[in-house]
Symmetry: C2
Subunit: 431 residues, 2 copies
């Protein structure tokens, strides 16, 4: 008795299925993002969902405890990927690639405390664009910010700000470039006041700062970045914000995060998140982030050879949540069917299948109900439920006359179309 | 010293990265397949990469030992999905869905003996189209075969045969419909001779078989299927073949497999596979397979309610292998960039960035080298290497004249285009 084989009917904690409506929204979002990446000349790569455990070791600090390990079933010790950046660095080092502009959209895994109503899952998409290579300063960094700007504009999520953090630049200057802490703080003070190119200019004229070679170099970089951002027409959205910090260890330069201005009801913070960041240290409303990480690839290279990288990650799950919520009261089409081949009379299944077949062969997206003698009403209902705009109705008379009755589902207008013109007529009406 | 952090630079056994060229081929294959699924009115869904372990238990017989389990890190016991069919059945039962036509393209995991040159991996794509629902007999089954036919034609993989197996129908008749073994064998004998509608007709006229109600019903179904396949114009490729068997337990009706006629060198069988099937019981050259599984969803339903299903799975990894091999000597573009913004003179970085920005804003796929003063030769080389068809060249004179020199990379022909006409000109030349 099969009735006895009953299982717990659920998905694993922190994960979800995507139903057809969610998939239609996901596809729309991906299309906008991928179009942007392609407009900027990016290639794409893919990597396995699991890596050797040691590949991930030592890359995520504290958060390493959130990595999913596979059971030891003999053979290698494996873990599910935690992000797409470490596999990317492994890929570059393994294939000795020193420059590439690529995007990678795939799921990553974290044994985190899920908060699914706010778009935080244990299995979630990352959507990364990175530029690897030794180039003239700040040009690729500026392109990454341009990409964030374009994508958030096109997704139409309302106003946003791209906040750049100074903290890591400061850290870099202090630790690597030998800038004294008080000079760095002084830069920080200035920068926290307001942000922009003129500010960097003013700082460069500060007598104390301008005496320090490293400070000058850093400020010159910032000025340069802003000048490129000006050329890319994105400065209206970009500000410095010292309060920002990104969780990961591997950043070595400017870091940034894009925040939506509007509060989305379902994304409202819990009390624990009142200070603007949730448990994972990511700001509520953050929908993109990234930065420069010049040291990561070198960690995989036997000789430690560095490949400078800068990238951006689009917070696609939050974007899905927002889009889903916006679409919650709307009807979203989940198929692209142009026409349903139907009949009001009995015994016309063969004729319906024949016409459907002809339409498929001519590239028309067509459906037919899998019933010998469906009622016309149920055929029309199927169109209304799924948004099919046209019905091609066959009857004895139409077959005799060599025509098909083409009905517009919304307007209910009907017109007899000669069989030879049917494909063109359907294309014309469903453009 | 970062040089000390050296790791084994490899992907997990049986897995691989996809480089940009492989991704370009993968995208092309997916586009053809997804277009076909959409032409047939399918929706798409997605499910998590891991399921509760118990969801997979008892579905794969012997092969269960190939399932990847996750380590018990506290919480639920999880396993990586082994195929897309069981998660689909779980999804239907969990959401009480009784009819849907959906496709699902995603990676699945098997701790199998990899044979990567022949396209057999431990992580590999499955690409499934299924029709669930109680419909009039054989109509959805015929559509699945039509889909296999369309996809294999459009992928242009050479001649192929779709072989339908009788064995499971026989088993079904014997076990479920009470047909005696000798009558079933007799059907088998006939059917193994040759296949087609006329054969089913002849069998129906056999006095012994026609006395048996169940045999008549089965043969009537087969006859019906063939009549629909005739309407769908696919009978030239469809034959019965008793030697076929699909590995999985859950099939309950007609099963089928599509086999390429041509032997692809890299897919040549090893000695162990000489009998036409490799270690996994899958025929060499098999590029699609499927069948009817009416019992699976009921295994997840607390009351055992059945949802009849029929589907097809495209053997996408073998198709990738074949396409890769065909493309191994060809250049495949990995970006879609239409134009590179370049300069032959120094100090024009800002002008280059400004023009690139304008082109992006107008929807043109454009690149610019990340160098202050790149040589014209290296800019042209970048186009030749990556297949960018056009270069927009800026110089002092062009800027003064308000024009851009547009160069065709292949023909080397150059023409001065007024700035205002540039976008249209690029679109016209890269259609």
């Amino acid at each position: 008795d099969e009735g006895k084989h009953v299982f717990v009917l659920k998905t694993a904690k922190g994960t979800r299925d995507y139903n057809p409506k969610q998939m239609a929204i996901r596809e729309k979002v991906f299309n906008i993002i991928i179009s942007c990446f392609k407009r900027h000349g990016a290639e794409t790569i893919d990597s396995p969902v699991f890596e050797l455990k040691e590949t991930l070791t030592g890359k995520y600090g504290e958060d390493s405890k959130l990595i999913y390990d596979l059971k030891d079933q003999g053979g290698e010790l494996l873990s599910l990927r935690y992000d797409l950046t470490v596999p990317f660095a492994r890929y570059l080092a393994m294939n000795k690639i020193t420059n590439i502009k690529r995007y990678h959209i795939a799921k990553v895994y974290r044994r985190d405390n899920p908060a699914m109503t706010r778009g935080r899952y244990r299995e979630f998409y990352q959507c990364d664009f990175d530029i690897a290579g030794q180039y003239d300063a700040m040009i690729p960094d500026a392109e990454c910010l341009k990409i964030v700007y374009e994508i958030l504009n096109e997704l139409d999520l309302g106003d946003f700000r791209i906040k750049m953090a100074w903290e890591d630049v400061k850290k870099e200057m202090v630790n690597e470039k030998g800038l004294s802490e008080d000079v760095a703080d002084r830069i920080g003070e200035y920068v926290s006041m307001q942000g922009g190119q003129d500010l960097a200019e003013r700082l460069l004229q500060d007598p104390k700062l301008s005496q320090n070679k490293q400070a000058c170099a850093g400020l010159t970089d910032m000025k340069l970045l802003f000048s490129y951002l000006e050329l890319f027409q994105v400065t209206d959205k970009v500000v410095f914000d010292l309060s920002l910090a990104r969780g990961l260890d591997y950043y070595t330069g400017v870091i940034y995060e894009a925040i939506l201005s509007q509060t989305i009801p379902a994304l409202v913070s819990t009390p624990a998140e009142q200070n603007g960041a949730d448990e994972a240290g990511v700001s509520v409303g953050s929908v993109a982030g990234g930065g420069r990480y010049d040291g990561l690839v070198g960690m995989f290279d036997p000789k430690g050879r560095k490949v400078p990288c800068v990238g951006v990650s689009i917070g696609i799950e939050r974007i899905f949540s927002i889009m889903e919520q916006k679409a919650s009261s709307e009807k979203v089409r989940t198929t692209e069917t142009q026409v349903l081949v139907a009949s009001a009379q009995k015994n016309l299944l063969e004729e319906r299948l024949k016409l459907t077949n002809a339409l498929w062969n001519e590239g028309i997206k067509a459906e037919v109900l899998y019933k010998k003698n469906p009622k016309l009403l149920s055929q029309l209902q199927h169109c209304e439920e799924t948004g099919i705009p046209l019905v091609a109705i066959l009857g004895e008379q139409e077959l005799k006359d060599g025509v098909v009755k083409l009905r517009n589902v919304v307007s209910r207008e009907e017109v007899d179309v000669p069989r030879a013109d049917l494909v063109d007529e359907i294309k014309k009406r469903t453009l």
